[in-house]
Symmetry: C2
């Protein structure tokens, strides 16, 4: 086996072309075994095997510096840069992250996880090199799907300004996570159809040189192209056409399903874990499809992640023009929603907490300054969400909830969520975001609240001395804490479901002063700039004691949620202990 | 005079071509008079006179909907849509804002002030129309300078997906605020040089149709082109070549100076107000130029606003490759800075508070997750900064200061600023932002603080019972408040200069508990998610009373700063009154 003997790029360089083909096969087998047990990004890595071998054959990493966009396709790079064990041996599977990670290897230069950043980051490496008189090659590797993101397009435009070495490998597999959307993909097709000869060329129009590789899964062609651009003294795009999922028939056929996988049965390809049942993506899709039938103004929006809204390919077809995928272009998604609302439509944009981060200015300027009635559904906003450092869902409250005019809601049950969603779609006054809960909890009681009465919290249990305000996902923690306090002290706390993240119910908080000494807040996100601090400020000039519970401001990576929760004293027992000490 | 009789687009449509030429002349005269007395965007509006007349001749606003990018060039549009008085009569000059404003007129559809948003917003209007079966034309008008912004490029790419009417007028005057930067400008030149016939065409590469207008200051050519695309059933770019500052020789020659003007002498063109003397842009440029001479690793970065760093054209020449203008591309500016730092450079990015908003995700992911040692200078971050609703500098603390790893500093004097800047440039551990003060205050005492001791506040006056923490610009307010309290009560408050926005000096705050009952915070920005709330949270479980002073979370527009300050109880007298009531 060659792979077992690859300790770094020099070992790749020693191989003959025939041996490289065998290595490619071995790498796919290792990927298949690991991903079937471990899950991860399947299609992107299967497509990049040959290109990665060719890159490490031609360039001298880590002197030459490679920056992988999103870096979800960098598994092969890890295999060839001293980290093969993490793909060969099950006990080492967790030794590496799913993204590029400088702490693992000198061959990685940035922690990366969001799309569309590689070209601008690589421009920075190149500029640093030019300032200090270096001579290494700087290589950005970016997929066609990521090209539609604003930062990537900015980077492509800026690159020409460097007027020095920068190699941008565009890995074109004619797919984003789902199918691509956007006019530039017509041009990529034109380039593929003409073997790169079409005179109209997006990359040349950005001032860049251009090289085309018809078969991006053919090692000799790739090596030839990379040799041609090595030590280039001007920014150049190498457009390679690869096959996503190459080498595993089901992934070649159903590219969307096999972009990322959970652990699966290697015989059948079927996921090992059964479907988790009812979830908010499914509920949202059902609601929207029903609503769309009745009202042509309703439109769902995604930025390249239709599954988060529950919109499978079949449902996208059903929705027709009432479902829009803007591609990886979160900024445009928010602006589009604002524009649709301004012209009488009822837009609902579904997005992960970690990706809404790309739209602060669009939320503020395009949407909230104009107070247009768009609905934004924020998914996976929780310490229990994705746990890679680049994909955390714990910063959206400080990021969003301090923008004026936005009404950011935190439901605690399915009934509340559905009521908020329907209210938001039908109202015409304010931009609304909903922090979609992690788990579907059913109260069994219809929610009849009028959400246009902003910042009115609900007292769900009347008590005294202690009031517990549990926001969204942490409402249950609030309830449990109240029970724990009651059990240990006999004091029956008041329990409050605030529902509004963006404002304070001053009347209610004022009224608590009469019979309460301590107010507790709990939120599923970082404390700094969050919900609880607003409550602390409100009571600052009074005798009320306020204890804020939430996460410390820090970047967490591949953590165990229960550990983090305990470390931040986010269990009912720990909070009750703190409260009892104060009582 | 024709202009006096223009009450709306219908009055424009009635004019002959010869009369339109006279109208154009009258509009320039009105612009000149108003801008000489009032200041404003000069070059952009002088260049757009003919195009605006042609747009209102061909299209039927407000049924047809025009969206102006940045909208700093929409003065002419305002003149022709019922708002001429605000340009003809001095007493009405302030009746209109400097940007598009739906509350002024049915001909404006969004409040806009940041660049690069028009295409995506217009896509939203078009999508709304298509959902509801409308038939109006949607027109985005965007300058060449704005094209380099990520949101604009995303919008151009997405537009083709609409597959319906959308007209994108690219107003190409071959200038941003300063000269353009980026590879796409080579393509615009190629298109200009070939009368739009070059086969390589950025807009066609984005999947759009394309029409070229050689003389964008010639009304008949413009009318012909707009008629050609009116009711188009597919997105089309109309590329018009205009002259920035057209009709006023000094503005035609020195386009950068005349992009925006303060009130000036109509005879000489010289500004009426003398230079305000020493300012932080000037100090920064002097420091950086000196530093650059000694250290090739130092590099200044701007995103199309070099004056904010004090980099005049001459200084840009002096700095050579040690000064980079990325064009309007704030996202890339932050990523570039991170990449430069990762490869041994010492990047300093200067940016307005309102525009750093465009980079939340780049700050978080590209920079702070990687903890690269870039320096970001945030200018005009104050209630005393720009006062248009789209250009406020009062939200950067909640936006930035809750991002992990970032060290956000607030100097109060020139000495502190220079010490922080130099420390930041020379250190290699953390990303640092500095909230540049509004006014240069000199202490006369060198600042010797070691800023690598994070979150260590300075007690500048020891007192008791009351402690006043005045952040950055509001340190002086803190001092004055302490004096006022001392004067009225004899209680001598402790005064603290916190310097660190991003963290709490727990040791110091803990020690205050011994001899203090009240802590006051004052910050020059909104309170929600800000600095003071962290202090309130710290003291939540104690007997310390905390009063947070800052601005209410709201969008302010064209306000009088003193009014806003009083309304938010941000005078020493008001704060002292509150404190004394509590003592």
């Amino acid at each position: 086996m060659y792979l077992e003997r690859i300790d770094g790029p020099n070992d790749v360089k020693k191989l003959s072309l025939e041996q490289m083909d065998v290595l490619a096969q071995e790498m796919r087998e290792a990927l298949f075994r690991k991903l079937s047990k471990h899950g991860g990004h399947f299609g992107p890595n299967f497509g990049m095997v040959e290109a990665t071998i060719a890159l490490h054959t031609v360039f001298d990493s880590p002197k030459d510096k490679m920056v992988f966009d999103v870096s979800h396709q960098s598994y092969c790079h890890k295999m060839l840069t001293g980290r093969k064990d993490a793909f060969l041996y099950e006990e080492h599977y967790d030794d590496v992250s799913g993204y590029s990670e400088p702490s693992e290897s000198a061959h990685d230069f940035f922690v990366i996880g969001h799309t569309s950043t590689s070209v601008s980051l690589a421009c920075g490496l190149a500029k640093g090199r030019d300032l200090l008189g270096g001579s290494e090659n700087i290589i950005a590797i970016i997929g066609d799907g990521s090209l539609s993101g604003g930062e990537a397009l900015e980077g492509l435009d800026f690159a020409a300004e460097l007027n020095s070495n920068l190699i941008i490998v565009v890995n074109d597999n004619d797919m984003s996570i789902a199918e691509n959307h956007g006019g530039l993909y017509q041009n990529l097709k034109q380039l593929r159809d003409t073997d790169g000869k079409a005179a109209c060329n997006l990359f040349r129009a950005m001032g860049l040189d251009y090289v085309f590789v018809k078969n991006g899964n053919d090692i000799p062609s790739l090596i030839e192209a990379f040799k041609q651009v090595k030590d280039s003294t001007y920014p150049v795009v190498v457009h390679i056409c690869t096959q996503k999922g190459k080498g595993y028939a089901p992934a070649e056929q159903d590219k969307e399903t096999w972009h990322w996988c959970m652990p699966f049965d290697p015989e059948t390809g079927k996921p090992l874990l059964a479907d988790a049942g009812e979830d908010y993506s499914e509920l949202t899709a059902q609601y929207l499809l029903e609503k769309m039938k009745k009202d042509p103004a309703v439109v769902g929006i995604t930025s390249a992640t239709p599954p988060i809204l529950g919109f499978t390919p079949n449902r996208r077809k059903l929705a027709g023009k009432q479902f829009v995928d803007v591609g990886i272009a979160e900024e445009t998604a928010v602006a589009l929603a604002s524009g649709i609302a301004a012209n009488g439509g009822k837009p609902v944009y579904g997005v992960y907490s970690t990706f809404i981060q790309r739209t602060y200015d669009q939320l503020s300027q395009d949407l909230c300054v104009n107070s247009n009635a768009a609905t934004i559904l924020v998914f996976a906003a929780s310490v229990y969400g994705m746990n890679d450092v680049t994909h955390l869902g714990i910063y959206d409250i400080p990021m969003m909830a301090n923008i004026p005019n936005l009404v950011y809601l935190a439901p605690t049950t399915k009934e509340e969520y559905m009521a908020m969603l329907d209210w938001s779609v039908e109202q015409n006054n304010v931009p609304v975001a909903i922090r979609v809960p992690m788990q579907v909890v059913t109260s069994g009681v219809p929610c009849t609240k009028d959400f246009s009465q902003y910042n009115t919290y609900e007292v769900t249990q009347k008590g005294s001395r202690v009031a517990v305000i549990g926001l969204g996902n942490f409402y249950t923690l609030g309830q449990e804490t109240a029970q724990e306090i009651a059990k240990q002290t006999g004091v029956q706390p008041t329990v409050i479901n605030p529902m509004y993240i963006t404002g304070v119910d001053e009347k209610l908080l004022e009224s608590l002063k009469a019979e309460h000494d301590i107010v507790i807040t709990a939120e599923d996100g970082i404390l700094d700039g969050g919900f609880g601090e607003k409550i602390a400020r409100f009571y600052g000039n009074s005798d009320m004691k306020v204890l804020n519970y939430g996460l410390k401001k820090e970047f967490l990576d591949r953590y165990d949620a229960e550990d983090v929760v305990k470390r931040n004293r986010l269990t009912a027992g720990q909070i009750a202990e703190d409260v009892i000490a104060l009582l």
